[in-house]
Symmetry: C2
Subunit: 274 residues, 2 copies
DNA sequence: ATGCCTTTGTGAAAGCGTGCACAAAGATGG
DNA sequence: CCATCTTTGTGCACGCTTTCACAAAGGCAT
């Protein structure tokens, strides 16, 4: 679930629970779709279905924002779009820098819609001198030497880290020192930041592994394959057969097993490094 | 937070809480790093610090797996790596298909390390005939007409959707019909799937919006800027000024505001469409 | 105007997750 | 063999989240 640091009461921020905040973007998306179809009002039931949540939960979520509905009718779509946008801080412009223009960084930069919801790519930054000056998504990549100046000049408070894991903490430190107070981290590392800085993490590796867990569970439920009785205490902790076993993929017998960071695997550091 | 569907008791799967499962990959990563440095054992305190969690939580998490530690010493790194890998189902090979080879799909495919943790890219699939046959990351892109056959031939049970939002549900339906039972969705849509199919969602848009919320809150705490007293009931729901206001960016006055899907914004559908 | 019907907003309760604090377990040194 | 010290495993309490269920509110038809 890509959670950030949680060294705070979880429900800071004037009453609105963290869980609710995390769902507001979901509602906003559903509402925007309705708005584009010129739907004037929507009931909690309908909107909840569109957002994929329980209607009672949705009503309670909205109740934290205020009483924006009309009993017997529902919610005014446009009004709610505005209220949620305002609550999320999307009615203002957020300049964002992306650090690490590898495959992922480039993909992010290429997404033109970045600008369409209050976020604006102020700059792309990469440490590789070969990248400097190269245009990506119409923006010239700038060298990381300029990081501090870029952040300062543009008043950037949100930074996206798409570097290899090894560089992430250092980049993070520099961003924070330069004034960034919110970081979206794609690198597979636990970033340590000072109090007051928010970090959120997106990690495909983790998502896939969670899916694999459930998938295995599903497979094991049907037939007791490989399932090894849970309570079965193996007694003395015996050393495992090897780091990885039971691969049924015959090929790929090259030596590149241990994927150390900055390894040979392209420059897609944010994903699948486990 | 990229949560999947939650129409289940949350703590299904033989006792192991969902929250614990979500942290296992984190522990695994930290342990793998220790293993590479040939560290033989680690205490819950050290490992917790490396994984960025509370040590009590970590111990409780491990207690669901069994008693794999030694009091007074800690945990055997290799043994724990093996146990967690096994629990997550990473000791077997998971063939994965990626559907939608736009910027993001290509970025995912290019990540060589995909294979390094039990996941193997079985095939890349795209609906655009112009893409068919083109090699991406050394794998030929195949046309979506072949989707069913590919899934069937390779015994694929995990699918990654990186298509535009408009195509996601359709792709999802076809994947499920073909036998896929776990889906990682990068498209900004709520997918509806039959019972027994797991969906997890990764959504940069949502993460950024959550950051913006906290950022705004931080800014508002210092000075009462724009903060509008929370309890202030505006009385009758007045229509909002406009969909977006208060942008302080002077430029970008083009007409592309509403980003409908399949819009002009490149092919990075999975991110920032809100 | 009145009554009915729909839908919101919200107490209250149940369910989870987290973190404290400590007893039990095992290693280690004498 | 015993004492001490470290570290695990877990009972317990607390707080956040979710869900239920229903009264209050408002529209609408007659």
């Amino acid at each position: 679930m890509a959670t950030g640091r949680n060294h705070r009461p979880a429900t800071r921020s004037r009453g609105i629970p963290e869980a609710t905040v995390a769902r507001l973007p979901l509602y906003l998306r559903a509402l925007t779709a309705l708005s584009e179809r010129s739907v004037p009002t929507v009931s909690s039931e309908e909107l909840a279905a569109a957002a994929g949540v329980n209607s009672a939960k949705l009503r309670k979520d909205f109740s934290y924002l205020g009483s924006y509905g009309t009993r017997g009718v529902g919610y005014d779509v446009e009004y709610l779009v505005y209220q949620i946008s305002r609550e999320l801080g999307l009615t203002q412009d957020w300049p964002v820098v992306i650090v690490g223009i590898g495959n992922l960084g480039a993909a992010l930069a290429n997404y033109g819609g970045f600008a369409s919801r209050g976020f604006r790519v102020a700059s792309l930054i990469d440490a590789d001198p070969a990248m400097t000056g190269k245009p990506v998504a119409g923006i010239e990549v700038r060298h990381s030497d300029e990081l501090e100046r870029i952040v300062d000049d543009n008043g950037v408070s949100i930074g996206v880290i798409a570097t290899p894991a090894g560089a992430a903490q250092q980049v993070c430190d520099r961003l924070v020192a330069a004034g960034v107070t919110s970081i979206l981290n794609f690198a597979p590392t636990v970033l340590s930041v000072p109090e007051g800085v928010d970090v959120r993490k997106v990690d495909l590796s983790i998502e896939l592994q969670i899916l694999a867990f459930h998938e295995q569970r599903k497979a094991g439920e049907l037939e007791g394959v490989d399932a090894e009785p849970p309570g079965a205490d193996t007694g003395t902790p015996v050393a495992p057969p090897a780091v990885s076993v039971t691969r049924r993929d015959p090929g790929r017998a090259d030596g590149k097993s241990g994927d150390t960071e900055a390894g040979p695997d392209g420059d897609f550091p944010a994903v699948m490094p486990a």
